[in-house]
Amino acid sequence: MKPAPFDYAVPRTIAEAVEALGDTGRKAQVLAGGQSLILEMHLQRVRPDLVVDINHIPELDGMRVEGDELRVGALVRHAAFEPATAVPGPLGTLLSKTVVNIAHPPIRSRGTMAGSFGWAHPASEWCAIGVALDATVEVTGPDGARALPAGDYFLGPHRTTRRPQELITAVRLPLLGENTGVSFIEHRRTHFTFAQVAVAAALTVHDGVIADARIGLVNSADRPIRARAAEDSLIGTETGPLPAGPRLPGEHPFARAGRIAATQDAAPLDQPYADAEYKRQAIAVLVGRTLLEAAADQRARLTAREGYHR
């Protein structure tokens, strides 16, 4: 199938884009990378009356550090996060470790991080990281700009608190400190499909004790979620000697956190080849393994820093 007819607008400023989106009589879609949108338009599961192409708005491009946050403009492509040094500190490591799981280079050269937040797919890697790290989604609409906390931004599959007339202008992610270790593990059937389950983790450790834990779950509910109960179970825990992995002893705190995430935090939906029972198993295993890698990453950073100071 091919896309159904639509009108096409190419605004040059955010104001022009917001004006185009403001016509409530027509169902409008914002086109940034378009790698999900145009596929759905092919299948005519999405049939907009108006497509607003924001690719020619220079003020939406570029990312930069502002204070203790990374501000990612709406036109920054996935591929921008591939070098681990593109973003400072552990956040850069996390984003570069994650981005390789998003499709493949030709998709990553078009698709955008902000677009993922707009599309709000339950299996989106970026969205789970956003929820876990308390990101902020910046939108601008007819009534001005709003900053939406990612934590309560997602309402369900493809549903968010963004109003249809609002344009996402940027996503802001908090930078992570040097005492934080990160990891991202994705479980999928082949390289060319969505995650059955994936987990993002950031562990902040002071003197061998977990001070903060962030766990984002991909495709583990009808929206990207944060595993708060699992996180709570880790606070104050000593990381201790790390098992060689990947399999963890059942009594290890990371394995326990995995089970908590699977039973208390996740609300997985049945899918072909991954029913809810299997997904819970995969969540439990992946959370444990991702935490183990994050702890190892934190320890490696510590060792590198101590070596540097010595």
Binding site: L43, R189, H191
Partner: protein, 407 residues
């Protein structure tokens, strides 16, 4: 729904049933599955062999293919590693699976022929026409080379035309692994017709008996007189030979061995090594045959692990995302693969070639499934149904293990 030719169609189902049964039988007998196969191979001197189901197997040396596969794999080394891991509760279980397949190539009686012609031009070049049409079998490379070799001329002087009903009145196609076996044999036959016709024409030209005219590398020779093909056409007029050639049915075979590692917590299967030994008789072009065998083995991996269609209660296939739901193997899924061959010539045609190119889809899936069953020591073979998706393997891994020699 669009349908399209697929490598190995029809044979993988038989191969998986037979090869899974062999492994199950071996377990019930408490016997090494390789030893059980060896004891039951049809010996090389029993060919041609009439099977109870009415087939006449043309030629084979099944043990030679299995030996080469196990040698290439380093079977003893992997077996030691498998046994070591069985004692180590932290290690991921590893299994070795074997599949010794026999397939039928060329087609069924009534479909074993191909039509073709060779036309000689005044510039000494030859146009070969054939009723088969390629979909990636390298006819353009292999057939001109074969004709040129028989005629003793450079390959560049032979051009192939296929797949055009304006050029060729009749033809069957490329299926049943029949390209080299049937169309190849047809071209070898046509080239000998061309040589006979050239000698007859030269004999008339020179008024000598045809049996005194020799064919030497594209030239007809009688004593000190010699004429090239182009001159012969100019002297004797349009020159074309054609025939409808009937080949014999053939039975290629081989042994595929897979080593897999299973993550029982997630159910993921990782292929650590795959060896595919095929015997398709005389190989006309090793690069082409090995390229087909490699691609076919990867397609077999797809069958074994990824390619499946789920249906809802109303029988509607669940494919809302197309290739996001029906998963083909990508480069990231390709393990180390060794492609080798043994050569047991096919007696059905002068070139001795049997069918090639579909073996991976036939032999590889059963080797992989047997390897996963070996890794998990699964008592109930029905628990493993292709594709071996992580969820199904995870469930199988939780089921009870078989006991050696248990009935």
């Amino acid at each position: 729904m669009v349908t399209y030719p697929y490598r190995g169609a029809g044979r993988p189902e038989a191969a998986i049933a037979i090869e899974r049964t062999m492994d199950l039988l071996a377990r019930r007998l408490g016997m090494d599955p390789i030893e059980l196969r060896r004891r039951n191979f049809i010996p090389p001197d029993a060919f041609p062999y009439e099977t109870p189901t009415g087939r006449r197997y043309d030629s084979g040396n099944y043990a030679a293919a299995l030996d080469l596969a196990l040698d290439t794999l380093g079977y003893e080394k992997w077996r030691a590693e498998r046994d070591r891991r069985r004692q180590d509760p932290d290690a991921l279980p590893l299994g070795i699976g074997v599949s010794c397949y026999v397939e039928r190539s060329g087609g069924e009686t009534g479909g074993l022929h191909e039509f073709g012609s060779l036309t000689v031009h005044e510039d000494g070049t030859v146009t070969a026409r054939c009723g088969a049409a390629p979909s990636g079998q390298s006819h353009e490379t292999v057939f001109p080379a074969l004709v040129a070799k028989v005629l003793g001329i450079e390959e560049a002087r032979v051009r192939l035309i296929e797949g055009d009903t304006g050029e060729q009145p009749e033809g069957l196609g490329s299926f049943a692994s029949r390209s080299a076996q049937v169309a190849g044999a047809m071209f070898q036959h046509a080239a000998t017709l061309l040589i006979d016709e050239a000698r007859a024409r030269a004999a008339r030209l020179w008024s000598v008996p045809a049996d005194q005219v020799e064919w030497v590398d594209g030239t007809v020779v009688h004593g000190s007189a010699s004429t090239g093909l182009g001159d012969l056409v100019r002297a004797t007029g349009p020159f074309r030979v054609e025939d409808r050639y009937e080949a014999g049915m053939a039975f290629p075979f081989g042994a595929h061995v897979a080593v897999t590692e299973v993550d029982p917590e997630l159910g993921t299967v990782r292929i650590l090594q795959l060896v595919a030994v095929d015997d398709c008789g005389v190989v006309l072009d090793p690069d082409v045959v090995h390229g087909q065998a490699f691609g076919s083995a990867v397609q077999g991996i797809g069958q074994a692990l990824y390619e499946g269609m789920a249906f809802d209660d109303d029988g509607v296939p669940h494919l809302p995302g197309g290739f996001l739901d029906y998963l083909l193997p990508t480069f990231a899924e390709i393990p180390p693969i060794d492609i080798k061959d043994t050569c047991t010539p096919g007696p059905g045609t002068p070139p001795g070639a049997k069918g090639a190119g579909e073996s991976g889809c036939i032999g590889t899936p059963a080797a992989i499934v047997n390897a996963v069953a070996d890794a998990l020591r699964i008592a109930d073979p029905d628990l493993l149904q292709m594709p071996l998706t992580p969820d199904s393997v995870w469930r199988a891994a939780r089921a009870s293990r078989h006991e050696e020699g248990a009935r």
